[in-house]
Symmetry: C2
Subunit: 436 residues, 2 copies
């Protein structure tokens, strides 16, 4: 088999690969080998991985090839953000404190994906403790640009065809933003749909496991496995005249021209395909969520990292101190309480407003624009933190390109706890945008 | 020093001990030695501990005695429920799977307590994964009776004068119930006031770190340290004519005579001291919270323990399977969503109802009655799960005794996120009841 064909195998989506494996025209071993070959080719430039279990993955693939189907992900390799624990691979959380750390367990979504026949190919780069301090990963479309963060490696690995699926986490914008910057599909579920055990706690109020793939259909497949839920394949044909709210958010002034263009082009295309798109404005009090989000994250993370701050102060980055520790230490219980109450009020408001207006989903930017140049910053969660704060499911569709040739995504935010319905809507929108 | 005097030292509250240490009339080393002596005397019967770090604690005490005050808990020993990680002591989570497990870090509340000069004397018994499968601990008032759970060892150790303070966790009734059964003061804060990092995830929706002590004043002291908050001493003198709601809950038929008597006696005493006590009824839809709580716990914990269930199925108890795995596997996403929505609705209702009625706190049972005979069951969370589900702060006051001579508590439940105010109210109520 020549390199070109192997490279094509690495480009298969999980569902395409699974179909071929089911039919007997592909083995898991060949698929894993193709992914490893692609990684060997690209990793020197992209640096998406902190650990690769090549031998273990090939051995698991051979064992799976020799037996009956184990489930939804039979023989499919996936990447695991290094903020999630794996019992057989190091877990370093993007911190030198844990360079050699080996957890005793698998995180919930890893264990469940493995139980469905998935193969944890390795650990992908996370920023330090899934916060702001960047790791080594570069944007696969241009190594001088950030891949975004905190799920930097998962986004780059999926978009660059290292692996069809990867797990990430989002506390602000850590799944949607890097997926948009790298050109992957990203899905942040409603809070508490995926199990959080074995994820290093950052901000328990908002920490949400999410996933990345190269199609919306794959997101639905992976979600079913990682969340131990019945598989509900996306059904875009069943979508008819959805009602969407175009939400510019309080930060529209931060949206770059390519983002404004992507949103407007999406509006036109979706309307032409039958969607009703209405403007959806957030009330003024949502302006306070920016600060509320930072207060809650600072308040909780300064406490959650008390041990590292006490025992390894020299190994905690200045970025972490500035973004989290200083904010947390400056926030009183009254500040925290006020922030929590604002979030509660905002969630009440938006749940009611969407129901009242009969809106199925919101159309909003995935990020301010293309991935910025430079690797020191992973960009901002400007267009993400509100939806994390609202506990609402969010999907980014990588259907646009910016002036520098880098991907630009649009984000669809669904009603809380209606994740299956939202994935189907996103699949419909993605098909519409692909045809335009 | 004779045994009697050492035993008296072990009976000091944390604030009493701290005052003596500050004055120079007591050293931390003598206090720790007194606690260890008390444990040596009582542990064969009570079995509250899974691990004691006697040598380490004495060494830390000597080091603290030789230096300046490190803060709120300077020189004070505390116990740590074995569901919380400690970097220097084993953490077994009540499961044979983790018999020899050594975590890499301290849980948030442990690290913060240590940073304030507290000494982690050892790990206290938890039920398996902080669920129902009982550990070895016995009720210190009668070894044939359960200490309650899941924070069995922390409640028994504090009530039996092994240690003045201990950390627990509550997902249903795991702090308030064992504290009530053993005769300790217990405090479950509003959700997310204490950091949850380094706590084995059970049900992320409800897992709440809590604390136990032998006075309400000590709860306020320990809270400030463990949550890294300014210390707000309780100020019972500042309480004037509080307005209380007597809440019999949907489960009043389960309340034993000693519990009904304790509630009625409390009502009379508090009214005589100036409180207005009004009946506070929960609407009928709260009846559904019992099932909703079990669905959410089952749904989340079956996912969070996916790794243990896959790799060590023979080492997971039948109790865990019955209470959590079977319920979780039988619960659909729609069931989970419905349960979450009921909780949301209930929290909205109760926040508004308390505000509207101007009620400062609810008076309600801590448990159905005295600790039941037998060690196989740790009792039921009948009178606790609602308040965990409501995210409201709860305190149990061990001011009554049942027909078998075992402690009976009453529970005061405060407004969400008004924890300091609630501790002061609880201190006032405790003083009133002590005088009766």
């Amino acid at each position: 088999m020549n390199l070109h064909l192997r490279d094509d195998l690495a480009r298969l989506t999980a569902l395409e690969a699974r179909t071929r494996i089911d039919e007997g025209s592909l083995t898991s071993e060949r698929l894993v080998a193709a992914c490893l070959e692609r990684i060997a080719l690209r990793e020197p430039e992209v640096e998406a991985w902190t650990h690769l279990d090549a031998e273990g993955a090939l051995a698991q693939a051979r064992a799976l090839d020799a037996g009956p189907s184990q489930g939804l992900l039979h023989g499919i390799p996936f990447g695991v953000k290094d903020i999630l624990d794996t019992f057989d691979q190091p877990s370093s959380y993007g911190s030198p404190i844990y360079r050699d750390h080996r957890p005793a367990w698998d995180s919930s979504t890893v264990a469940l994906s493995r139980a469905q026949g998935g193969i944890a190919l390795g650990k992908t780069v996370t920023t330090e403790f899934a916060n702001r301090h960047a790791g080594k990963t570069r944007n696969p479309h241009n190594p001088a640009h950030t891949p975004g963060g905190s799920s930097s490696g998962s986004a780059a690995a999926v978009a660059d065809f290292h692996v069809p699926l990867a797990i990430g986490t989002q506390t602000g914008g850590s799944v949607i933003r890097p997926a948009a910057y790298c050109g992957a599909y990203g899905y942040k579920p409603s809070l508490h749909v995926f199990g959080e055990s074995g994820v290093r706690t950052n901000t328990e109020q908002f920490d949400t496991v999410g996933i990345m793939a190269r199609s919306v259909a794959d997101l639905a497949l992976f979600k079913a496995a990682a969340a131990q839920m019945p598989y509900v394949p996306v059904a875009p044909d069943a979508v008819s005249r959805p009602r969407l709210g175009l939400c510019r958010s309080p930060h529209w002034d931060k949206a770059a021209p390519e983002t404004r263009d992507a949103i407007e082009a999406s509006r036109r295309a979706l309307e032409a395909a039958g969607a009703q798109v209405v403007d959806f404005e957030l009330p003024d009090f949502f302006d306070g969520l920016d600060r509320a989000h930072r207060v809650v994250c600072g308040f909780e993370s300064v406490r959650n990292y008390a041990d590292e701050l006490a025992r390894f102060p020299a190994l905690v980055s200045d970025d972490f101190r500035r973004e989290r520790v200083d904010v947390g230490n400056a926030s009183s219980l009254a500040d925290f309480r006020e922030a929590l109450r604002l979030g509660l009020r905002a969630r009440r408001w938006i749940d009611a407003a969407l129901a009242e207006a009969g809106i199925d989903a919101l159309l909003t930017p995935s990020a301010a624009g293309e991935a910025p140049a430079g690797l020191a910053s992973t960009g901002q969660a400007t267009f993400n933190y509100i939806w994390t704060h609202m506990y609402m499911p969010a999907v980014t569709l990588p259907r646009f390109t910016g002036p520098n040739g880098l991907p630009v995504g649009i984000q669809l935010v669904g009603r809380r706890h209606e994740d299956d319905r939202h994935l189907t809507l996103a699949a419909w929108a993605d098909r519409v945008l692909a045809a335009n």
